[in-house]
Protein backbone atom coordinates (compact mmCIF):
# COMPACT_ATOMS: atom_id res chain seq x y z
CA UNK A 1 0.00 0.00 0.00
CA UNK A 2 1.20 3.50 -0.81
CA UNK A 3 2.23 5.51 2.31
CA UNK A 4 -0.25 7.94 3.83
CA UNK A 5 1.89 11.04 3.42
CA UNK A 6 1.55 11.34 -0.36
CA UNK A 7 -1.12 13.56 -1.86
CA UNK A 8 -4.33 11.62 -2.61
CA UNK A 9 -4.30 12.93 -6.20
CA UNK A 10 -1.36 10.65 -7.01
CA UNK A 11 -3.55 7.55 -6.81
CA UNK A 12 -7.00 9.13 -7.25
CA UNK A 13 -6.51 10.78 -10.64
CA UNK A 14 -4.94 7.87 -12.57
CA UNK A 15 -7.47 5.40 -11.11
CA UNK A 16 -10.32 7.80 -11.94
CA UNK A 17 -9.09 8.27 -15.52
CA UNK A 18 -8.92 4.51 -16.05
CA UNK A 19 -12.41 4.12 -14.56
CA UNK A 20 -13.80 6.83 -16.85
CA UNK A 21 -12.15 5.43 -19.99
CA UNK A 22 -13.49 1.92 -19.29
CA UNK A 23 -17.06 3.10 -18.60
CA UNK A 24 -17.00 5.20 -21.80
CA UNK A 25 -15.53 2.39 -23.95
CA UNK A 26 -18.09 -0.11 -22.67
CA UNK A 27 -20.92 2.27 -23.63
CA UNK A 28 -22.17 2.82 -20.07
CA UNK A 29 -22.24 6.60 -20.62
CA UNK A 30 -25.05 5.96 -23.08
CA UNK A 31 -28.54 5.83 -21.49
CA UNK A 32 -29.67 3.63 -24.39
CA UNK A 33 -27.35 0.85 -23.19
CA UNK A 34 -28.56 1.12 -19.57
CA UNK A 35 -32.23 1.31 -20.57
CA UNK A 36 -31.58 -1.76 -22.75
CA UNK A 37 -30.32 -3.61 -19.68
CA UNK A 38 -33.36 -2.65 -17.60
CA UNK A 39 -35.57 -4.02 -20.39
CA UNK A 40 -33.56 -7.23 -20.72
CA UNK A 41 -32.34 -6.51 -24.24
CA UNK A 42 -28.70 -5.50 -23.69
CA UNK A 43 -26.62 -7.14 -20.96
CA UNK A 44 -23.62 -4.81 -21.04
CA UNK A 45 -24.28 -3.55 -17.50
CA UNK A 46 -24.40 -7.10 -16.08
CA UNK A 47 -21.26 -8.11 -17.98
CA UNK A 48 -19.24 -5.08 -16.88
CA UNK A 49 -20.43 -5.15 -13.28
CA UNK A 50 -20.15 -8.85 -12.59
CA UNK A 51 -16.97 -9.12 -14.66
CA UNK A 52 -15.41 -6.40 -12.51
CA UNK A 53 -16.74 -7.72 -9.19
CA UNK A 54 -15.54 -11.29 -9.84
CA UNK A 55 -12.12 -10.12 -11.10
CA UNK A 56 -11.53 -7.86 -8.09
CA UNK A 57 -12.99 -10.38 -5.62
CA UNK A 58 -10.76 -13.22 -6.86
CA UNK A 59 -7.81 -10.83 -6.89
CA UNK A 60 -8.44 -9.81 -3.27
CA UNK A 61 -8.91 -13.34 -1.92
CA UNK A 62 -5.93 -14.81 -3.77
CA UNK A 63 -3.62 -11.86 -3.08
CA UNK A 64 -4.80 -11.95 0.53
CA UNK A 65 -4.06 -15.66 0.91
CA UNK A 66 -0.63 -15.13 -0.65
CA UNK A 67 0.04 -12.43 1.93
CA UNK A 68 0.47 -9.64 -0.64
CA UNK A 69 -2.52 -7.74 0.60
CA UNK A 70 -4.40 -7.42 3.89
CA UNK A 71 -8.08 -7.47 2.87
CA UNK A 72 -9.16 -6.21 6.29
CA UNK A 73 -7.14 -3.01 5.74
CA UNK A 74 -9.28 -1.98 2.72
CA UNK A 75 -11.93 0.62 3.58
CA UNK A 76 -15.36 -0.90 3.10
CA UNK A 77 -18.82 0.67 3.05
CA UNK A 78 -20.58 0.19 6.41
CA UNK A 79 -23.67 -2.00 6.72
CA UNK A 80 -27.05 -0.66 7.88
CA UNK A 81 -29.51 -3.02 6.23
CA UNK A 82 -32.87 -1.18 6.71
CA UNK A 83 -31.42 2.14 5.51
CA UNK A 84 -29.65 0.42 2.64
CA UNK A 85 -32.82 -1.38 1.58
CA UNK A 86 -34.78 1.89 1.48
CA UNK A 87 -31.85 3.63 -0.21
CA UNK A 88 -31.66 0.87 -2.84
CA UNK A 89 -35.36 1.23 -3.68
CA UNK A 90 -35.17 5.03 -3.97
CA UNK A 91 -31.92 4.74 -5.93
CA UNK A 92 -33.40 2.08 -8.24
CA UNK A 93 -36.33 4.34 -9.08
CA UNK A 94 -33.98 7.19 -9.93
CA UNK A 95 -31.76 4.80 -11.91
CA UNK A 96 -34.76 3.80 -14.06
CA UNK A 97 -35.85 7.42 -14.65
CA UNK A 98 -32.38 8.69 -15.56
CA UNK A 99 -31.18 5.48 -17.26
CA UNK A 100 -27.83 6.53 -15.81
CA UNK A 101 -26.15 5.98 -12.44
CA UNK A 102 -24.02 8.62 -10.70
CA UNK A 103 -20.74 7.46 -12.24
CA UNK A 104 -22.13 6.90 -15.73
CA UNK A 105 -24.00 10.24 -15.57
CA UNK A 106 -20.58 11.90 -15.23
CA UNK A 107 -19.35 9.87 -18.23
CA UNK A 108 -22.44 10.89 -20.24
CA UNK A 109 -21.92 14.55 -19.32
CA UNK A 110 -18.24 14.27 -20.27
CA UNK A 111 -19.29 12.83 -23.65
CA UNK A 112 -21.24 16.01 -24.33
CA UNK A 113 -24.71 14.65 -23.51
CA UNK A 114 -27.11 17.16 -22.04
CA UNK A 115 -29.19 14.48 -20.29
CA UNK A 116 -25.95 13.38 -18.59
CA UNK A 117 -25.37 16.91 -17.39
CA UNK A 118 -28.99 17.09 -16.22
CA UNK A 119 -28.60 13.87 -14.21
CA UNK A 120 -25.37 15.21 -12.66
CA UNK A 121 -27.24 18.39 -11.66
CA UNK A 122 -30.07 16.31 -10.22
CA UNK A 123 -27.59 14.17 -8.25
CA UNK A 124 -25.99 17.28 -6.76
CA UNK A 125 -29.37 18.76 -5.84
CA UNK A 126 -30.70 15.48 -4.43
CA UNK A 127 -27.57 15.02 -2.32
CA UNK A 128 -27.71 18.59 -1.02
CA UNK A 129 -31.44 18.21 -0.25
CA UNK A 130 -30.96 14.97 1.70
CA UNK A 131 -31.36 16.82 5.05
CA UNK A 132 -34.80 18.02 3.89
CA UNK A 133 -35.96 14.43 3.33
CA UNK A 134 -34.28 13.24 6.50
CA UNK A 135 -37.23 13.61 8.92
CA UNK A 136 -39.21 11.23 6.68
CA UNK A 137 -36.55 8.54 6.34
CA UNK A 138 -34.63 8.79 9.60
CA UNK A 139 -36.77 6.13 11.28
CA UNK A 140 -35.02 3.35 9.38
CA UNK A 141 -31.51 4.68 9.86
CA UNK A 142 -29.21 3.18 12.51
CA UNK A 143 -27.32 5.64 14.70
CA UNK A 144 -24.13 3.64 14.25
CA UNK A 145 -23.86 1.26 11.30
CA UNK A 146 -21.87 -1.94 11.48
CA UNK A 147 -18.34 -1.77 10.09
CA UNK A 148 -16.67 -4.52 8.12
CA UNK A 149 -19.58 -6.96 8.03
CA UNK A 150 -19.36 -9.39 5.13
CA UNK A 151 -21.57 -12.14 3.77
CA UNK A 152 -19.10 -14.69 5.16
CA UNK A 153 -19.18 -13.28 8.71
CA UNK A 154 -22.90 -12.39 8.79
CA UNK A 155 -24.15 -15.70 7.38
CA UNK A 156 -21.47 -17.75 9.16
CA UNK A 157 -20.56 -19.38 5.83
CA UNK A 158 -16.90 -20.13 5.01
CA UNK A 159 -15.29 -17.54 2.74
CA UNK A 160 -14.45 -20.11 0.06
CA UNK A 161 -18.12 -21.13 -0.28
CA UNK A 162 -19.25 -17.49 -0.63
CA UNK A 163 -16.58 -16.87 -3.27
CA UNK A 164 -17.53 -19.90 -5.32
CA UNK A 165 -21.29 -19.26 -5.08
CA UNK A 166 -20.98 -15.60 -6.08
CA UNK A 167 -18.66 -16.42 -8.97
CA UNK A 168 -21.06 -19.10 -10.20
CA UNK A 169 -24.02 -16.69 -9.89
CA UNK A 170 -22.16 -13.98 -11.80
CA UNK A 171 -21.15 -16.37 -14.58
CA UNK A 172 -24.71 -17.68 -14.80
CA UNK A 173 -26.06 -14.10 -15.07
CA UNK A 174 -23.62 -13.42 -17.90
CA UNK A 175 -24.61 -16.61 -19.74
CA UNK A 176 -28.32 -15.81 -19.34
CA UNK A 177 -27.52 -12.36 -20.71
CA UNK A 178 -25.92 -13.84 -23.81
CA UNK A 179 -28.87 -16.14 -24.37
CA UNK A 180 -31.38 -13.30 -24.03
CA UNK A 181 -29.34 -11.04 -26.31
CA UNK A 182 -29.02 -13.61 -29.07
CA UNK A 183 -32.15 -15.65 -28.44
CA UNK A 184 -31.14 -19.06 -29.71
CA UNK A 185 -27.62 -19.06 -31.13
CA UNK A 186 -25.72 -22.36 -31.04
CA UNK A 187 -23.04 -22.29 -28.33
CA UNK A 188 -24.16 -19.37 -26.18
CA UNK A 189 -24.68 -21.61 -23.14
CA UNK A 190 -21.00 -22.51 -22.89
CA UNK A 191 -18.99 -20.31 -20.51
CA UNK A 192 -16.42 -18.17 -22.29
CA UNK A 193 -12.71 -18.54 -21.47
CA UNK A 194 -12.68 -15.72 -18.86
CA UNK A 195 -15.78 -17.15 -17.20
CA UNK A 196 -14.24 -20.62 -17.03
CA UNK A 197 -10.99 -19.21 -15.63
CA UNK A 198 -12.94 -17.31 -12.96
CA UNK A 199 -14.90 -20.40 -11.93
CA UNK A 200 -11.71 -22.48 -11.77
CA UNK A 201 -9.96 -19.85 -9.63
CA UNK A 202 -12.95 -19.61 -7.29
CA UNK A 203 -13.30 -23.38 -6.96
CA UNK A 204 -9.57 -23.83 -6.29
CA UNK A 205 -9.74 -21.11 -3.66
CA UNK A 206 -12.72 -22.75 -1.98
CA UNK A 207 -11.04 -26.16 -1.85
CA UNK A 208 -7.68 -24.79 -0.64
CA UNK A 209 -9.39 -22.52 1.92
CA UNK A 210 -11.65 -25.33 3.16
CA UNK A 211 -8.68 -27.63 3.72
CA UNK A 212 -6.85 -24.93 5.63
CA UNK A 213 -4.20 -24.85 2.91
CA UNK A 214 -4.26 -21.05 2.80
CA UNK A 215 -3.08 -20.16 6.26
CA UNK A 216 -0.77 -17.24 5.70
CA UNK A 217 -2.85 -14.12 5.48
CA UNK A 218 -5.62 -15.17 7.80
CA UNK A 219 -3.23 -16.50 10.42
CA UNK A 220 -1.15 -13.35 10.10
CA UNK A 221 -4.16 -11.08 10.41
CA UNK A 222 -5.37 -12.98 13.48
CA UNK A 223 -1.87 -12.95 14.99
CA UNK A 224 -1.73 -9.18 14.47
CA UNK A 225 -5.06 -8.76 16.29
CA UNK A 226 -3.79 -10.87 19.18
CA UNK A 227 -0.60 -8.81 19.27
CA UNK A 228 -2.55 -5.54 19.37
CA UNK A 229 -4.49 -7.03 22.30
CA UNK A 230 -7.67 -5.87 20.59
CA UNK A 231 -9.01 -9.33 21.36
CA UNK A 232 -9.43 -9.01 25.10
CA UNK A 233 -11.22 -7.15 27.85
CA UNK A 234 -9.94 -6.49 31.39
CA UNK A 235 -11.92 -7.78 34.37
CA UNK A 236 -12.79 -4.26 35.59
CA UNK A 237 -13.95 -3.23 32.09
CA UNK A 238 -16.19 -6.29 31.94
CA UNK A 239 -17.57 -5.49 35.41
CA UNK A 240 -18.46 -2.00 34.23
CA UNK A 241 -20.09 -3.36 31.09
CA UNK A 242 -22.24 -5.71 33.18
CA UNK A 243 -23.17 -3.02 35.69
CA UNK A 244 -24.12 -0.53 32.97
CA UNK A 245 -26.20 -3.24 31.27
CA UNK A 246 -24.30 -2.74 28.00
CA UNK A 247 -26.67 -3.69 25.16
CA UNK A 248 -25.88 -6.89 23.29
CA UNK A 249 -23.42 -8.16 25.91
CA UNK A 250 -23.28 -11.97 26.02
CA UNK A 251 -20.92 -13.80 28.37
CA UNK A 252 -19.90 -17.42 27.92
CA UNK A 253 -18.28 -19.50 30.68
CA UNK A 254 -15.98 -22.10 29.11
CA UNK A 255 -14.53 -23.62 32.30
CA UNK A 256 -14.28 -27.37 32.76
CA UNK A 257 -16.29 -29.10 35.42
CA UNK A 258 -18.57 -26.18 36.16
CA UNK A 259 -22.13 -26.88 37.12
CA UNK A 260 -25.02 -24.75 38.28
CA UNK A 261 -23.72 -24.69 41.86
CA UNK A 262 -20.45 -23.00 40.87
CA UNK A 263 -20.06 -19.27 41.01
CA UNK A 264 -20.19 -17.77 37.51
CA UNK A 265 -19.79 -14.17 36.44
CA UNK A 266 -23.29 -12.62 36.64
CA UNK A 267 -25.18 -13.11 33.38
CA UNK A 268 -22.78 -15.74 31.99
CA UNK A 269 -24.01 -18.92 30.37
CA UNK A 270 -22.14 -22.20 30.59
CA UNK A 271 -20.71 -23.70 27.42
CA UNK A 272 -18.29 -26.52 26.67
CA UNK A 273 -15.39 -25.68 24.39
CA UNK A 274 -16.49 -28.47 22.06
CA UNK A 275 -19.80 -26.67 21.48
CA UNK A 276 -18.15 -23.43 20.37
CA UNK A 277 -18.92 -24.18 16.72
CA UNK A 278 -22.62 -23.76 17.47
CA UNK A 279 -22.20 -20.14 18.57
CA UNK A 280 -23.46 -17.46 16.25
CA UNK A 281 -23.31 -13.75 16.91
CA UNK A 282 -26.25 -11.53 16.02
CA UNK A 283 -25.59 -8.04 14.72
CA UNK A 284 -24.84 -5.68 17.59
CA UNK A 285 -23.94 -8.47 19.99
CA UNK A 286 -20.64 -8.54 21.85
CA UNK A 287 -19.43 -11.89 23.04
CA UNK A 288 -17.15 -12.17 26.09
CA UNK A 289 -15.45 -15.52 26.67
CA UNK A 290 -13.77 -16.64 29.88
CA UNK A 291 -12.24 -19.71 31.42
CA UNK A 292 -10.15 -20.25 34.57
CA UNK A 293 -6.84 -18.82 33.44
CA UNK A 294 -7.90 -17.77 29.97
CA UNK A 295 -6.35 -20.45 27.74
CA UNK A 296 -9.62 -22.19 26.88
CA UNK A 297 -11.30 -18.85 26.20
CA UNK A 298 -8.44 -17.77 23.93
CA UNK A 299 -8.65 -21.04 22.02
CA UNK A 300 -12.39 -20.54 21.60
CA UNK A 301 -11.75 -16.98 20.40
CA UNK A 302 -9.45 -18.28 17.63
CA UNK A 303 -12.05 -20.88 16.60
CA UNK A 304 -14.68 -18.12 16.33
CA UNK A 305 -12.33 -15.72 14.57
CA UNK A 306 -11.46 -18.31 11.92
CA UNK A 307 -15.20 -18.57 11.22
CA UNK A 308 -15.20 -14.83 10.59
CA UNK A 309 -16.78 -13.85 13.92
CA UNK A 310 -15.07 -10.63 14.99
CA UNK A 311 -17.35 -9.53 17.81
CA UNK A 312 -15.79 -11.73 20.48
CA UNK A 313 -13.49 -10.71 23.34
CA UNK A 314 -11.56 -12.79 25.83
CA UNK A 315 -11.61 -11.89 29.53
CA UNK A 316 -7.91 -11.34 30.22
CA UNK A 317 -6.58 -13.90 32.72
CA UNK A 318 -10.07 -15.35 33.04
CA UNK A 319 -11.84 -16.18 36.28
CA UNK A 320 -8.57 -15.68 38.19
CA UNK A 321 -8.58 -12.01 37.18
CA UNK A 322 -12.29 -11.67 38.01
CA UNK A 323 -11.57 -12.92 41.53
CA UNK A 324 -8.44 -10.84 42.06
CA UNK A 325 -9.61 -7.61 40.47
CA UNK A 326 -13.38 -7.52 40.93
CA UNK A 327 -14.37 -9.85 43.76
CA UNK A 328 -11.47 -9.14 46.12
CA UNK A 329 -9.38 -6.27 44.83
CA UNK A 330 -6.31 -5.55 46.92
CA UNK A 331 -5.52 -2.04 48.12
CA UNK A 332 -2.11 -0.94 46.87
CA UNK A 333 0.63 -1.28 49.48
CA UNK A 334 2.28 2.00 48.48
CA UNK A 335 -0.50 3.99 46.85
CA UNK A 336 0.18 6.55 44.18
CA UNK A 337 -2.49 8.52 42.33
CA UNK A 338 -3.01 5.93 39.61
CA UNK A 339 -3.16 2.84 41.77
CA UNK A 340 -5.35 4.63 44.31
CA UNK A 341 -7.84 5.70 41.66
CA UNK A 342 -7.87 2.17 40.30
CA UNK A 343 -8.55 0.70 43.73
CA UNK A 344 -11.35 3.18 44.43
CA UNK A 345 -12.99 2.19 41.14
CA UNK A 346 -12.39 -1.52 41.81
CA UNK A 347 -13.74 -1.27 45.36
CA UNK A 348 -16.96 0.31 44.21
CA UNK A 349 -17.46 -2.35 41.54
CA UNK A 350 -16.51 -5.08 43.97
CA UNK A 351 -19.17 -4.02 46.46
CA UNK A 352 -21.74 -3.82 43.68
CA UNK A 353 -20.92 -7.41 42.72
CA UNK A 354 -21.00 -8.57 46.34
CA UNK A 355 -17.23 -8.93 46.64
CA UNK A 356 -14.82 -8.16 49.48
CA UNK A 357 -12.12 -5.57 48.80
CA UNK A 358 -8.96 -6.38 50.74
CA UNK A 359 -6.57 -4.03 52.49
CA UNK A 360 -3.80 -6.57 53.11
CA UNK A 361 -2.80 -9.50 50.89
CA UNK A 362 -3.10 -12.31 53.45
CA UNK A 363 -6.50 -11.33 54.78
CA UNK A 364 -8.61 -14.42 54.62
CA UNK A 365 -11.72 -13.99 52.60
CA UNK A 366 -14.88 -14.49 54.60
CA UNK A 367 -16.69 -17.68 53.80
CA UNK A 368 -19.45 -16.21 51.74
CA UNK A 369 -20.12 -18.72 49.05
CA UNK A 370 -19.39 -16.22 46.34
CA UNK A 371 -15.74 -17.21 46.08
CA UNK A 372 -15.13 -20.21 43.90
CA UNK A 373 -12.45 -22.72 44.65
CA UNK A 374 -9.34 -21.61 42.76
CA UNK A 375 -8.60 -24.04 39.96
CA UNK A 376 -5.37 -23.66 38.09
CA UNK A 377 -6.25 -25.50 34.95
CA UNK A 378 -7.32 -23.76 31.81
Amino acid sequence: MIPDNIHPAITAIPIGIAFGVILERAGLGDPKVIAGQLRGRDFTVVKVMFGAIVTALLGVVWAGSAGWLDPSAIAMPPTDLPAQALGAVIFGGGFALAALCPGTACVAAASGRRDGLAAVGGMFAGTALTPVAWPVVRGVVAETPREGSTLASDLGVPLGIVVVLLTAAAVLAMIIGRVMERRGGGSVWRPTTPESVAMALAATFAVADGRGALPSSRAEAIAAEIERESDHVEALELAELIRSRAPGLRILDLRDGVDTSTYVIPGARLMALSDIDTVSVAPGEKLVLYSDGGAHAAQAWVLLRVRGIRDALVLKDGMAAWEDEVLSPLAPAVPDDTSKARFVRARELSLWFGGFPRLVPDASTPASGTRPRRRRTC
Binding site: M1, I2, P8, T11, A12, I15, G16, F19, G20, V21, I22, L23, R25, G29, D30, K32, V33, R39, G40, I53, A56, L57, I74, A75, M76, P77, D80, A83, A85, A88, F91, G92, G94, F95, A98, A99, L100, C101, P102, G103, A110, S111, D115, A118, A119, G121, G122, F124, G126, T127, A128, L129, T130, P131, R138, E143, P145, L151, L166, M174
Partner: protein, 170 residues
Amino acid sequence: MKARPYADGTMAGIALGVVLLASFVLAGRGIGASGAFAATAGPVAAAIDPGTIEAAPALADRLPTDFAPWNDWIVLELLGVIAGALVSARLAGRWRTATNDRAPGRLTRAVAGGALMGLGARLAYGCTSGLALSGGALLSTGAWLFIPLAFATAIGVTALARDRRLEELA
Protein backbone atom coordinates in the same frame (compact mmCIF):
# COMPACT_ATOMS: atom_id res chain seq x y z
CA MET B 1 -15.93 10.99 -37.85
CA LYS B 2 -18.09 7.93 -37.44
CA ALA B 3 -18.58 6.65 -33.89
CA ARG B 4 -16.70 3.42 -33.16
CA PRO B 5 -18.66 0.49 -31.71
CA TYR B 6 -18.54 -0.07 -27.95
CA ALA B 7 -16.07 -2.51 -26.41
CA ASP B 8 -17.07 -6.02 -25.32
CA GLY B 9 -18.78 -5.93 -21.91
CA THR B 10 -16.95 -8.89 -20.39
CA MET B 11 -13.53 -7.56 -21.40
CA ALA B 12 -14.43 -4.08 -20.11
CA GLY B 13 -15.59 -5.72 -16.86
CA ILE B 14 -12.30 -7.56 -16.40
CA ALA B 15 -10.35 -4.36 -17.09
CA LEU B 16 -12.52 -2.52 -14.56
CA GLY B 17 -11.89 -5.30 -12.03
CA VAL B 18 -8.14 -4.85 -12.47
CA VAL B 19 -8.52 -1.09 -11.92
CA LEU B 20 -10.63 -1.75 -8.81
CA LEU B 21 -8.02 -4.18 -7.50
CA ALA B 22 -5.30 -1.58 -8.14
CA SER B 23 -7.36 0.91 -6.16
CA PHE B 24 -7.67 -1.55 -3.24
CA VAL B 25 -3.91 -2.12 -3.24
CA LEU B 26 -2.63 1.40 -3.96
CA ALA B 27 -5.21 3.58 -2.25
CA GLY B 28 -6.60 1.13 0.33
CA ARG B 29 -10.17 1.80 -0.83
CA GLY B 30 -12.51 1.14 -3.74
CA ILE B 31 -13.65 3.41 -6.54
CA GLY B 32 -16.83 5.45 -6.29
CA ALA B 33 -18.95 8.31 -7.57
CA SER B 34 -21.73 9.42 -5.21
CA GLY B 35 -19.20 10.08 -2.43
CA ALA B 36 -17.80 12.95 -4.50
CA PHE B 37 -21.29 14.47 -4.75
CA ALA B 38 -21.63 14.16 -0.96
CA ALA B 39 -18.22 15.80 -0.43
CA THR B 40 -19.23 18.81 -2.52
CA ALA B 41 -23.00 19.06 -1.95
CA GLY B 42 -22.71 18.39 1.80
CA PRO B 43 -20.79 21.62 2.55
CA VAL B 44 -23.31 23.56 0.41
CA ALA B 45 -26.22 22.12 2.40
CA ALA B 46 -24.37 22.83 5.64
CA ALA B 47 -23.75 26.44 4.63
CA ILE B 48 -27.45 26.98 3.93
CA ASP B 49 -28.87 25.11 6.91
CA PRO B 50 -26.21 23.88 9.35
CA GLY B 51 -28.65 22.90 12.10
CA THR B 52 -30.39 20.01 10.33
CA ILE B 53 -27.17 18.09 9.62
CA GLU B 54 -25.74 18.67 13.07
CA ALA B 55 -28.95 17.49 14.71
CA ALA B 56 -28.82 14.10 12.99
CA PRO B 57 -25.64 12.13 13.81
CA ALA B 58 -26.48 9.40 11.29
CA LEU B 59 -26.81 12.04 8.60
CA ALA B 60 -23.59 13.81 9.53
CA ASP B 61 -21.88 10.47 9.04
CA ARG B 62 -23.12 10.32 5.44
CA LEU B 63 -22.90 13.96 4.38
CA PRO B 64 -19.53 15.62 5.08
CA THR B 65 -19.65 19.32 5.88
CA ASP B 66 -15.97 20.27 5.53
CA PHE B 67 -15.17 21.59 2.10
CA ALA B 68 -11.73 20.32 1.04
CA PRO B 69 -12.18 18.98 -2.51
CA TRP B 70 -8.50 19.19 -3.45
CA ASN B 71 -7.50 16.83 -0.67
CA ASP B 72 -10.46 14.51 -1.02
CA TRP B 73 -9.59 11.22 -2.75
CA ILE B 74 -13.09 10.58 -4.09
CA VAL B 75 -13.52 14.09 -5.55
CA LEU B 76 -10.15 13.86 -7.32
CA GLU B 77 -11.05 10.38 -8.57
CA LEU B 78 -14.34 11.61 -10.07
CA LEU B 79 -12.50 14.47 -11.79
CA GLY B 80 -10.28 11.74 -13.28
CA VAL B 81 -13.41 9.87 -14.44
CA ILE B 82 -14.69 12.98 -16.21
CA ALA B 83 -11.30 13.63 -17.85
CA GLY B 84 -10.89 9.99 -18.91
CA ALA B 85 -14.41 9.78 -20.34
CA LEU B 86 -13.99 13.08 -22.21
CA VAL B 87 -10.74 11.97 -23.89
CA SER B 88 -12.10 8.49 -24.60
CA ALA B 89 -15.33 9.82 -26.16
CA ARG B 90 -13.37 12.26 -28.35
CA LEU B 91 -10.93 9.59 -29.55
CA ALA B 92 -13.76 7.17 -30.35
CA GLY B 93 -15.73 9.79 -32.28
CA ARG B 94 -18.54 9.69 -29.72
CA TRP B 95 -18.42 13.31 -28.55
CA ARG B 96 -21.92 14.80 -28.80
CA THR B 97 -23.20 11.96 -30.94
CA ALA B 98 -26.28 11.75 -28.75
CA THR B 99 -29.50 12.09 -30.68
CA ASN B 100 -31.94 11.02 -28.01
CA ASP B 101 -31.31 13.70 -25.39
CA ARG B 102 -33.76 16.07 -27.07
CA ALA B 103 -36.79 13.83 -26.56
CA PRO B 104 -39.60 15.61 -24.69
CA GLY B 105 -39.30 15.19 -20.95
CA ARG B 106 -35.91 13.49 -21.16
CA LEU B 107 -34.05 16.25 -19.33
CA THR B 108 -36.73 16.49 -16.65
CA ARG B 109 -36.57 12.76 -16.01
CA ALA B 110 -32.75 12.88 -15.89
CA VAL B 111 -32.88 15.63 -13.24
CA ALA B 112 -35.56 13.82 -11.20
CA GLY B 113 -33.74 10.49 -11.52
CA GLY B 114 -30.48 12.14 -10.46
CA ALA B 115 -32.14 13.69 -7.41
CA LEU B 116 -33.63 10.34 -6.30
CA MET B 117 -30.25 8.66 -6.78
CA GLY B 118 -28.64 11.40 -4.69
CA LEU B 119 -30.95 10.71 -1.75
CA GLY B 120 -30.88 6.92 -2.18
CA ALA B 121 -27.09 6.82 -2.31
CA ARG B 122 -26.81 8.82 0.94
CA LEU B 123 -29.18 6.41 2.70
CA ALA B 124 -27.36 3.37 1.34
CA TYR B 125 -23.78 4.63 1.95
CA GLY B 126 -22.99 4.58 -1.76
CA CYS B 127 -24.15 4.02 -5.31
CA THR B 128 -23.60 1.49 -8.07
CA SER B 129 -19.85 2.28 -7.99
CA GLY B 130 -18.91 2.83 -4.36
CA LEU B 131 -21.34 0.37 -2.77
CA ALA B 132 -22.39 -2.20 -5.40
CA LEU B 133 -19.09 -2.53 -7.27
CA SER B 134 -16.44 -1.84 -4.62
CA GLY B 135 -18.43 -3.19 -1.67
CA GLY B 136 -19.65 -6.14 -3.73
CA ALA B 137 -16.08 -7.19 -4.53
CA LEU B 138 -15.28 -7.07 -0.78
CA LEU B 139 -18.41 -9.17 -0.03
CA SER B 140 -20.00 -6.36 2.01
CA THR B 141 -23.42 -7.51 3.25
CA GLY B 142 -24.97 -4.10 2.58
CA ALA B 143 -23.69 -4.14 -1.01
CA TRP B 144 -25.25 -7.54 -1.70
CA LEU B 145 -28.57 -6.28 -0.34
CA PHE B 146 -28.32 -3.14 -2.48
CA ILE B 147 -27.48 -4.86 -5.80
CA PRO B 148 -30.60 -7.04 -6.20
CA LEU B 149 -32.96 -4.48 -4.62
CA ALA B 150 -31.77 -1.51 -6.70
CA PHE B 151 -31.80 -3.47 -9.96
CA ALA B 152 -35.15 -5.14 -9.22
CA THR B 153 -36.70 -1.73 -8.49
CA ALA B 154 -35.19 -0.20 -11.62
CA ILE B 155 -36.40 -3.11 -13.79
CA GLY B 156 -39.85 -2.92 -12.19
CA VAL B 157 -40.17 0.84 -12.70
CA THR B 158 -39.04 0.48 -16.32
CA ALA B 159 -41.58 -2.28 -16.94
CA LEU B 160 -44.42 -0.36 -15.25
CA ALA B 161 -43.67 2.85 -17.15
CA ARG B 162 -44.40 1.04 -20.38
CA ASP B 163 -45.29 4.19 -22.25
CA ARG B 164 -43.69 5.86 -25.22
CA ARG B 165 -41.71 8.25 -23.09
CA LEU B 166 -39.20 5.53 -22.28
CA GLU B 167 -39.27 4.03 -25.76
CA GLU B 168 -37.11 6.78 -27.19
CA LEU B 169 -34.13 5.40 -25.30
CA ALA B 170 -34.31 1.85 -26.55
